[in-house]
Amino acid sequence: MSPERKIRILIAKPGLDGHDRGAKVIARGFRDAGFEVIYTGLHQTPEQIVAAAIQEDVDGIGLSILSGAHDYIFPEVIKLLKEKGAEDIAVFGGGIIPEEDILALKGSGVKALFVPGTTIEEAVKWVRENIKPRK
């Protein structure tokens, strides 16, 4: 019996936003929790993020946005995943997302949004419970 494959997560920094403290902390936290983590680095377009996710065969994409561009970027990534037939890759995110935007983003297919005050453990727990290694 082969051991279950590790959960693979792409942590991505979309747009021009340079605030990467949170993304890097969560990438390291996920790695310490035993996930395989790929970090895109900064300034990625939605197209680049989706291409990286498919190429790296990840189970989930975590987008970190603190610039206010969330209303454009999350739906765009989800749309592109659908176009590539990769909608089974779960999209979640974190950053500065005003409360009234969260509902709309979840409606567009974002699985979870982690706002300030989230601990690393809470995010790890959510991933373990909600993202399974795809085949």
């Binding site: 942590i11 920094k13 747009g15 021009l16 936003d17 340079g18 605030h19 990467d20 403290r21 993304a23 890097k24 902390v25 990438a27 390291r28 936290g29 970090y39 895109t40 680095g41 900064l42 300034h43 377009t45 610039s67 206010g68 561009a69 209303d71 454009y72 970027i73 500065i96 005003p98 409360e99 009234e100 706002v115 300030p116 005050g117 601990t119 690393i120 453990e121």
Partner: protein, 557 residues
Amino acid sequence: MFKEDQLKKVQQEKKKWVDDLSKMLSETPERLPRFTTVSDLEIKGLYSPEDIKDLNYSGEVGFPGVYPFTRGVQPSMYRGKLWTMRMFSGLGGPEETNQRFHYLLNHGETGLSVAFHYPTLMGYDSDSPNARGEVGKCGVAIDTLKDMEILFEGIPLDQVTTSMTINPPASILLAMYIVVAEKQGVSKKEIGGTIQNDMLKEFVAQKTFMLPPRPSIRIIVDTIEYCTKEVPRWNTISISGYHIREAGSTAVQELAFTLADGIAYVEAAMERGLDVDDFAPRLSFFFDSHIDFFEEIAKFRAARRIWAKVMRERFMAKKPRSWMLRFHTQTAGCSLTAQQPFNNVVRTAYEALAAVLGGTQSLHTNSLDETYAIPTEEAVTIALRTQQILAEETGVTNTIDPLAGSYFVEALTNQMEEMAWDYIHKIDEMGGMVKAIERGYPQMEIADAAYRYQRQIDANEKVIVGVNKYVTDHPPITIWRMRPEIGERQLKRLREVKETRKNPKVKECLGLIRRASLDGENLMPHIIHAVREYATIQEICDVWREVFGRYTDPGYF
């Protein structure tokens, strides 16, 4: 500092205190196993003359306005002139931001500070595909001189100084500012202000980068060289620790990496053949004021002392002005919480007090809603009033450097200086800051510190009120939101400028920038010509991206 027999007596008395304390602690122990600063520096329960027994007052502390400036850069400090109250502002388009500038000046602000939106910061125009979703959100959208004219409408540039937080395209925004002043009839010899223009900390922390480190430094030295001759009241660079700290560094790392960046710029300008005493007086600094009160005050005092020594001993500068570390401070955005946002007013007030007791030359106080968005008018007014109350009610400006001579503050200042020197020497051994950055050294040091801090918060070892202690629900606050028509207006104006300007002339100017980029001629005069013809920021940056290549994030974590 003390006579030998005095110290003996102190030691005897201290021994008694330690004995008494041990007895007491065996029954009622202290609240915590370790008492530490926000940077995890361990602090003792008591400091006494013993902790500063080797301190040489004249050589290491001295008087304000006198080397090594530990007590401040001006002889009269705030009794002569208060710090400049400079609120970092930029929202939507130039119209909205101009309105905010007037509002703040009318409410007692004493200097301007421009926050640009992300596309401008990164050298893209509002109509670029890279700008999708970002126009006017994190600051003001500026594409051409036209926008800058609107931004400063009704603001006489000979009567106010302006700081611009801008890095890869800093030379372009400075050029636009010079031309706007010129159109107001104000000569570039008279204007005063600052461009951030500090690319090294961009690679390390703020991450608005465009070109690789070496060409980035070349353009910075072009601006230093040009301003030294042509714009004598301009601070050519604001060597910044703020973003290093916000990215999660400790106070000592902020101090050390900032000064190491400064050393790299001085070396680069001297390599160009500039005389250190011609340009050094116009180097300025920018620090964070975080929540750990005494650690910050010690940091500011140590910064002045280290820089004075660096300039005088290492670079042999002769003018006292070259030895002075003048700095702007911003209270710590990263110390604010989205939870219970009104608590942020209190945090900001303490941080502002630390900056003032540390001898800052100018100050931005964050607004209570800045963990969510650009501040509303109401929130920014409270933040400005926080400074005014500090300046005019609390009495802390009555005397200079009031914490000097405190056993604790002097000992902590010494300790921070020593720890910073260790880092600076280590970076010197690596071959300087550019090489250290290419190896990822400061980036990883900061990432380690940020991760350690988050773990401490998660484990409740560090308390943040409203986040991991005293947690309650709070009703949402009203936040500023950008109206979509502002973005449309910006695109329309950019289109009109491109249609009505003299396009062959723009092409010619861009050609000259390309030539100067390749042959090493100073770029500034060419940039000024280009922006006068309404060349866009992206058009100029595209030339550089093509000539010098792009820097991409190595993604260290």
